[in-house]
């Protein structure tokens, strides 16, 4: 509890998101209507997932360099939290799509690529569950995690942009230019993104601390 300040920022930002996300004006667009507000909740799930997977990628490299159990615990728990956020992102996307795209699943390139990278990360958990020896498990899963991350980046950020996609900012466009114009939305959107990322980091840090206590005999 020594470092409280960023948790307070997280609470303030998310509190603002919950209130302003519903009350601030949004552009009137057909088809999207009020669902445009999902931008404050659906998209930050993927931001959080990406940040967490990046962090776990770094810890996996760190583990391979140091062979410290601590780095392995960090990598695994951060990945678990990232998978949790990816499931939330997928569920919210499936709930949003029927009302705007006409179907929950329309084989959109980004949907397919996300499903693929989610499966890759599910396999990470399965892989870890299948190896009894602790050191072997840590080493193999660290290598696997690095490959998973190297696959996730092109799957989510490059391939969907090279083909036509229902997602905004795809099919050649780099970002959310459809919404970017609105400065009211920008304010809430960036606050929401930061708040949700901090929440993800907070949850991951709690999971890490529990694991550190669990393995304290081997750690210290």
């Amino acid at each position: 509890m020594r470092k409280w300040w960023w948790k307070i920022i997280c609470i303030l930002f998310l509190g603002y998101t919950v209130v302003a996300g519903f009350l601030m004006p949004v552009p009137r667009l057909n088809i999207l209507n009020e669902t445009i507000r999902n931008l404050y909740f659906h998209v930050p799930m993927w931001f959080t997932m990406t940040i967490l997977f990046t962090a776990s990628f770094i810890y996996s490299i760190k583990y391979l360099r140091s062979s410290k159990l601590e780095d392995d615990i960090y990598a695994v728990q951060i990945t678990n939290t990232g998978i949790f956020f990816s499931i939330l992102g997928m569920c919210t996307g499936l709930e949003w799509a029927p009302y705007t795209w006409g179907a929950a699943w329309s084989n959109d390139p980004k949907q397919l690529a996300t499903a693929l990278s989610m499966l890759i990360y599910f396999a990470y958990i399965v892989l870890r569950g299948g190896i009894k020896d602790e050191e072997k498990r840590a080493k193999i899963s660290a290598v696997y995690n690095i490959f998973a991350y190297a696959l996730m980046i092109p799957l989510l950020f490059i391939l969907p942009r090279m083909v036509a996609s229902l997602h905004p900012g795809n099919g050649g466009n780099p970002g959310f230019n459809t919404y970017d114009l609105d400065s009211d939305m920008k304010k809430v959107f960036y606050t929401a993104g930061l708040g949700w990322i901090l929440l993800g980091v907070w949850i991951a840090s709690l999971k890490i601390r529990v694991e550190l206590i669990k393995y304290k005999d081997e750690l210290y």
């Binding site: 509890m1 057909n30 709690l206 601390r209 206590i213 304290k216 750690l219």
Partner: protein, 74 residues
């Protein structure tokens, strides 16, 4: 000549103006005018407060265990 141009432009613009008014996107205006959107905000704020309270308590509990066990803080 000018009159003819004016009327021809008007002729082409009028239908588009009518369409523009028709296609005003539907938003939750009734909910806002009734003031009931605040109920939704209240419900969400309650859920959010509950989750944060839960996280803070969990954080505190873990800190206490860390202190008892003498493990360092993450």
């Amino acid at each position: 000549m000018h009159k003819a141009l004016f009327f021809s432009i008007l002729f082409f613009l009028l239908p588009s103006l009518a369409i523009a008014q028709e296609t005003q996107a539907e938003m939750a205006d009734t909910m806002r005018s009734n003031g009931k959107i605040y109920v939704v905000v209240l419900v969400l704020a309650t859920i959010f407060a509950g989750i944060i309270l839960y996280l803070v308590r969990l954080d505190r509990k873990i800190t206490r265990i860390e202190k008892n066990q003498g493990t360092k803080q993450a």
